[in-house]
Every structure is written in structure tokens, then in C-alpha cells.
């Protein structure tokens, strides 16, 4: 691996990605729309300009991305592991047996190593709901795709540029007006254990007016996968609509995950985000929400439970662009063994965004003396009639509670598990899709048992 050039704020992009861009240009010739071609050209220039962030960059202060960017990942656009019969079989088994995903919904769309896999996908496309892979949506020349694709997504760092340049496929969901549907749409990305790949899923979810739906985005991998998932989802919620969005990241501890969710909310719309992070060696989520119409609401719930030497970094940004909006954020973290967590919740209240209500809370439970969390609220308020609160806590399992349970005959391990599960359920209780909530709660118990067994 060639040495990387690192200056104060920038890790220069390696020749590897520039070379792969050229290969891809030839490879893709003619098969992609012009606006994507020009996005790629702009983005490669931007990538050369901005590079990848060092820890001198404020937003990346606690997260060192060098272990990710120094690797020469195979670009998944050029790999064929997704066609491998044994990989597809293993992926199917994984979904069918997964503690969380099995039997979750009758609507699922599946990707392996970033490629759409039709044989594992079962979606019912009706007039009110379109669920397509992005390539197909491009192919069908959907007007909506051209109108909204990359509309508010800005390149904030090299990883965003990387996705623009190398995204291969993803999901396009279009919900028409006046649709209420309980059954969630489940988007599943599975990373295989073949080669070390860079996978760039790219999703676009458009929710029409007066509708109410649930979307679950999940990322998992086959045992031993060492891939780097770098994802962008763009979400638009139109007037009076409700979207409950779940992101579930449970990839291999040998892999990396960087994800961005860019959300735009219109008048009186309601966006609820549940961000669940359990996997990957280094994980980073950026959830950006623009409240761009009066009466819009954003609810952000997060749970991260990490162990080993995992590093999980959650950055959220709520932009109160219009008056009379509400944002409510509640993130909880459980950090075991030598893991490390970062929470950064930024709230911007624009000039004129009066009668804003913005609440934020981050609570952490450290299960070991070697685990660590850095938590920080960031408020930028330019209006004067604003109600804004924030708070953060870091603590351990409470000794008095532990003794209380043990004095009732409950084994120490079980008592600890109960207490950790209770800590998690406090945030999980906000999930309205009960089957998923129960499964995540079970997953927390299992994760806790595994950790106790090992230590």
C-alpha cells in the first residue's frame, strides 16, 4: 500500500481511487444517465480537492479514518461475488435466520455487495408504492428521480464524494399521496466475505403528501466480511406525511461503515428516525435533517451497543429553517470492553425560526473501565423565541440496583443483563413497529450474554 500524503486537515486521495474511476468510466460507458456522469466528474474533482478528513477537522475530532482510507478496497461495481451461487445461498440463510430481520415484512428488497439481487427480493409494486432498484429507476426515466436525486446532498467530506463517484445501485422508493401502510418496506444490504470491497449504496425515498409509511434500511454481512460500506440515503417527506425510518447497522466487526442520511421535511410532516448501530470496526453515521416547513417534526432515537475495539460515531444535525418546528433527540449508548463511542448533536435554529422547540439527550452506559464515550451538544441559535434543552450522562451499571436484583435471587449475570436491557428498552420503547422493537430488545439481551460469557 502506497504511503498516503497527509496534511493538517486532509488525507489526500490515493491513486487507487483515481485509477479505478478511469476504469469505471470505460466500463460504464453509455449505460448511465448524463447527469450522473457529470456528478461523477464534479465529485472526483471535489475528492481531489477535499480528500478525507484528519482528526484536525472538528467534525472528525474523535474518529480516525486512516484505517479505512489507507486500504485499497475493490470497487464493488467491478466485482461479481453477488452472482456467486454459494454467496446468494448464504445471504438467504442469513436473512431467514437473522435474529432481527427474519419474518419482519412481506416487502423486502435485497442487495449483495451493492448489487440488486432479484431472486431474494419480494416486493409488491402497486400504484401507490413504487419500490425499484435505482438503476431501473434511472432506466425508466422517472421524472421524480431526476427532480430529487442529489437535490440537497452536499459533499461534506471525501466519503460523500466517494459515494457520488462509485455508487452502483440502491433503492428508489416512491410513495404517492394519501397512502397509509403499516407493513414496513425492508431494504437489506448484505456484504459478502469475497474480497475486500468498497460498497456504495445510494437510496432515494420520496414520501408524498398525507401518507404514513415505515422504511427499514438494514446493513449486515456474511461472517468475516472485510468490506467498507459507504452509504447515502436521501429522504423527502412532503406535507402532512409521517415517515418512520429505521437504520440497522449490524455488519461484521472486521468491516467499516460510513453512512449519511439527508432528510428534507416539508410543512407539518413528521420524520422519526431510529438509528441502531451494533456492527463494524469503525462506524460513523451522519443524519442531517432540514425542517423546511412550519409545523414539521423530527424525532431522532438512537441506540448503539458496541464491544471489542469497535468505534461508533453518531453525528446528527437538525436545521430548524422555519418557525414552529419541533426536534426531539434521544440517543443511548452501551459500550463494552475496549469500545469507543462518539455522539455529536448539532442543532441550528435559523434567524426567523421562532417558536422552535428542540430537545436533545444522550445517555451512556459503560460496561468496562476501558470503554470510552465523547459526547457533545452543539447549538447554533439565531432566533430569540426558542425553547432548547440538552443533556448528556455517562455512567455504569448501578450497584444498588444490581444488589437489589441479586437479593431477590437473580444471578449476577442475569441481573446485569436485565439492567442493560432495561437501559436499552428506554429508547427502544419509542419504536412503533413492535415486531422489530421486540427483536432488537432480544438482540440486546443476546449481545449482553455474549459479552458476559467472554469476560
Amino acid at each position: 500500500m502506497a504511503g498516503l500524503v497527509i496534511t493538517k486537515n486532509k488525507i489526500e486521495v490515493s491513486d487507487w481511487y483515481l485509477k479505478n474511476f478511469e476504469i469505471l468510466e470505460e466500463h460504464n460507458n453509455g449505460s448511465i444517465p448524463d447527469f450522473v456522469k457529470s456528478l461523477r466528474k464534479d465529485s472526483i474533482q471535489k475528492l481531489i480537492d477535499v480528500g478525507f478528513p484528519t482528526q484536525k477537522v472538528e467534525d472528525w475530532k474523535y474518529t480516525n479514518v486512516l484505517p479505512i482510507v489507507e486500504k485499497n478496497f475493490k470497487i464493488s461495481n467491478l466485482t461479481e461475488s453477488w452472482k456467486d451461487k454459494s454467496v446468494v445461498t448464504k445471504a438467504k440463510e442469513l436473512i431467514d435466520k437473522d435474529l432481527i430481520l427474519a419474518d419482519l415484512s412481506s416487502n423486502q428488497i435485497v442487495f449483495i455487495d451493492g448489487h440488486f439481487v432479484e431472486e431474494l427480493t419480494r416486493v409488491q409494486n402497486i400504484d401507490e408504492i413504487k419500490i425499484l432498484n435505482l438503476k431501473k429507476a434511472f432506466h425508466q426515466n422517472s421524472e421524480k428521480v431526476f427532480e430529487y436525486f442529489n437535490k440537497y446532498n452536499q459533499i461534506e467530506n471525501g466519503f460523500n464524494a466517494l459515494n457520488n463517484i462509485f455508487f452502483n445501485d440502491g433503492v428508489f422508493i416512491l410513495i404517492k399521496d394519501n397512502l397509509v401502510e403499516d407493513e414496513p418496506i425492508v431494504v437489506i444490504y448484505i456484504q459478502s466475505d469475497k474480497e475486500e470491497q468498497l460498497i456504495n449504496p445510494r437510496n432515494l425515498f420520496l414520501i408524498g403528501k398525507n401518507s404514513k409509511v415505515r422504511i427499514i434500511e438494514s446493513y449486515l454481512s456474511l461472517d468475516g466480511a472485510k468490506s467498507f460500506t459507504n452509504t447515502i440515503s436521501e429522504i423527502f417527506v412532503a406535507e402532512n406525511s409521517f415517515l418512520e425510518h429505521y437504520k440497522l447497522q449490524n455488519e461484521s466487526l472486521n468491516g467499516f461503515h460510513i453512512g449519511k442520511i439527508q432528510t428534507h421535511l416539508e410543512r407539518n410532516s413528521n420524520f422519526t428516525s431510529h438509528n441502531l448501530s451494533f456492527g463494524s470496526a469503525i462506524g460513523r453515521n451522519d443524519i442531517n435533517i432540514i425542517l423546511d416547513g412550519e409545523g414539521a417534526e423530527a424525532h431522532m432515537y438512537g441506540l448503539y451497543f458496541v464491544k471489542d475495539k469497535q468505534h461508533i460515531d453518531n453525528h446528527t444535525l437538525v436545521d430548524h429553517a422555519k418557525p414552529h418546528c419541533l426536534s426531539n433527540e434521544f440517543y443511548k449508548g452501551i459500550l463494552a470492553e475496549n469500545s469507543r463511542g462518539v455522539f455529536n448533536g448539532k442543532i441550528i435554529v435559523r434567524k426567523g425560526a421562532q417558536k422552535t422547540n428542540a430537545y436533545q439527550s444522550n445517555k451512556n452506559l459503560l460496561l468496562s473501565g476501558n470503554a470510552k464515550i465523547d459526547t457533545k451538544p452543539q447549538l447554533e441559535i439565531f432566533a430569540d423565541d426558542v425553547r432548547c434543552t440538552h443533556g448528556a450522562t455517562v455512567g455504569q451499571v448501578d450497584d444498588d440496583s444490581l444488589f437489589y436484583l441479586r437479593a431477590r435471587g437473580i444471578d449476577e449475570k442475569n441481573a446485569r443483563t436485565l439492567l442493560v436491557n432495561a437501559f436499552a428498552n428506554d429508547v427502544l420503547s419509542n419504536m412503533t413497529f413492535e415486531p422489530l422493537r421486540d427483536k432488537i430488545s432480544d438482540f440486546v439481551i443476546k449481545q449482553m450474554s455474549d459479552i458476559i460469557q467472554k469476560n
Binding site: D398, D399, D400, S401, F403, Y404, L405, R406, A407, R408, G409, I410, D411, E412, N414, A415, L418, L419, N421, A422, F423, N425, D426
Partner: protein
């Protein structure tokens, strides 16, 4: 049933219990009285197995089993139950979950079959009525948002569910009004109906509770030692004369 011999206990280098001797037989109700700071709660906590106490010397045997070697959960499975002076609030764990987990772990440890959900529910419903608490409380988080009186009643409810061999009630009367006190005492007296293989230790500052739970023996714990033992009349005498009486007698009694 319980035999405590020459028990010396330190907390953060300070000797709290300075040689306690106590013998409790099946069928008996003992009251341990004493002023604040005399070591009453320390004694209760050490019997239950709370960490943070240094056992300097002495022994505690329960039915010929050395308790000091056992973690709190194993003591509970033997049949020891402490009603806490300050019951802990545990958000996120319901009272029903706590009890179901506890009772099934105790049963499993004794080689008994676990209770199924229906058996368990009907048992809970039966017992909770006795404490004049609403069933809705079962699905609420343990002690969370409970008033002081509700917490104490919940302790006694748990005790009736678990049916311990040795119940240690640590200041269960503190913070209770007279109505709640009677309900709690009734609960304890229900346990008393079958004392064949059972004993109760009531730890209290005041004589008040003992009007309703009449003890067979009363001990006065003062400055880490049991300085006086007697029948239930001793409690009345204490109430009349106050603890100063013990203090003035202290030197000659020991």
C-alpha cells in the same frame, strides 16, 4: 435457623458491628431495635450479602450453611429475604418481570419446576390484593415513581410472593402512615401463619410497628453490640424510657 457469632464488621475502616451474637430459631419473630447509627442496617445488609462490608471476624450460619461464603443470590435461593429500607427504583424492568425472573431462578436452584405465565399471573393477582395495591402496578417499572409507602408495600408484596424462610425487614415502618403501617403489618402476619420452617427479624427504630407485629424476642443493638435482650415488654420499656436509658446502662450491661 440463623446463628450469628462474634460478628465484627467494618465499613471504610470504621468498625460498625463490634461483636454481635444472635440466635434465631424456626418459628420465632425477633425485633432488633436501636438508635440511629447503632449498626442495625449494617447487620441486615450483611445477612443479605451486600458488598462493601469488611467482615473482620465472626460467622453467620443459616441452617448450618456458612452464609458469608455465598453471594446474595445464593442466600436468597436458600430462603433469605431482605425488605429494603430504601427500595431501589429500576426504570425499564417491570415488577412482574422482576418477580417472575426471581421466583423462577429460586425454583430452578431448588430443582423445582418453573411457574408458567398463567400460574404466575394468578399468584400475583392473589397476593397483590392482600397489600391493597392495584394490579396495574405489576406492569409498572420496579418502584419507579412510587411513593415511600408504595415502595414499602411493594417489598412486602415481593416477600409474600417469594415466601422466604428467613425474612429480614429493615426499617419497613419508616415513612409509613398508620394505615399503610397496618397493611404492611398484616402482610407480615400472613407470612407468620405458617412459621413451621420460618423466622422473621424486624429491624426498627421505633416500637410502633411492634404493636402490629408482636415479636417473641426483642434485642437492643447499641454501638455495634447487642446490649440487651428480652421479651416484647423490653420494646415498651425502651419506648417509655428512650435510648438514653440504654446509654446510661451501657457500661454495666456489657
Amino acid at each position: 435457623m440463623l446463628r450469628i457469632k462474634d460478628l465484627v464488621v467494618k465499613v471504610e475502616d470504621k468498625e460498625i458491628l463490634k461483636g454481635v451474637n444472635l440466635e434465631v430459631n424456626a418459628g420465632e419473630v425477633h425485633a432488633i431495635m436501636g438508635p440511629n447509627g447503632s449498626g442495625k442496617s449494617t447487620l441486615a445488609n450483611v445477612i443479605a450479602g451486600k458488598e462493601g462490608y469488611e467482615i473482620v471476624s465472626g460467622e453467620i450460619y443459616f441452617k448450618d450453611i456458612n452464609l458469608l461464603e455465598l453471594p446474595p443470590e445464593e442466600r436468597a435461593r436458600l430462603g433469605i429475604f431482605m425488605a429494603f429500607q430504601y427500595p431501589v427504583e429500576i426504570p425499564g424492568i417491570s415488577n412482574a418481570t422482576l418477580l417472575k425472573t426471581a421466583i423462577n431462578e429460586i425454583r430452578k436452584a431448588r430443582g423445582e419446576e418453573e411457574l408458567d405465565a398463567m400460574e404466575f399471573l394468578s399468584l400475583m393477582r392473589e397476593k397483590i390484593k392482600l397489600l391493597e395495591m392495584s394490579e396495574e402496578m405489576l406492569s409498572r417499572s420496579v418502584n419507579t415513581g412510587f411513593s415511600g409507602g408504595e415502595k414499602k408495600r411493594n417489598e412486602i408484596f415481593q416477600m409474600l410472593m417469594i415466601e422466604p424462610k428467613l425474612a429480614v425487614l429493615d426499617e419497613t415502618d419508616s415513612g409509613l402512615d398508620i394505615d399503610a403501617l397496618k397493611i404492611v403489618a398484616n402482610g407480615v402476619n400472613l407470612l407468620r401463619k405458617d412459621m413451621n420452617d420460618r423466622a422473621i427479624i424486624v429491624v426498627t427504630h421505633y416500637q410502633r410497628l411492634l404493636n402490629y407485629i408482636v415479636p417473641d424476642f426483642v434485642h437492643v443493638l447499641y454501638d455495634g453490640r447487642i446490649v440487651k435482650s428480652g421479651s416484647k415488654e423490653l420494646a415498651l420499656e425502651l419506648e417509655a424510657k428512650g435510648y438514653d436509658w440504654i446509654k446510661s446502662e451501657d457500661k454495666i450491661t456489657v
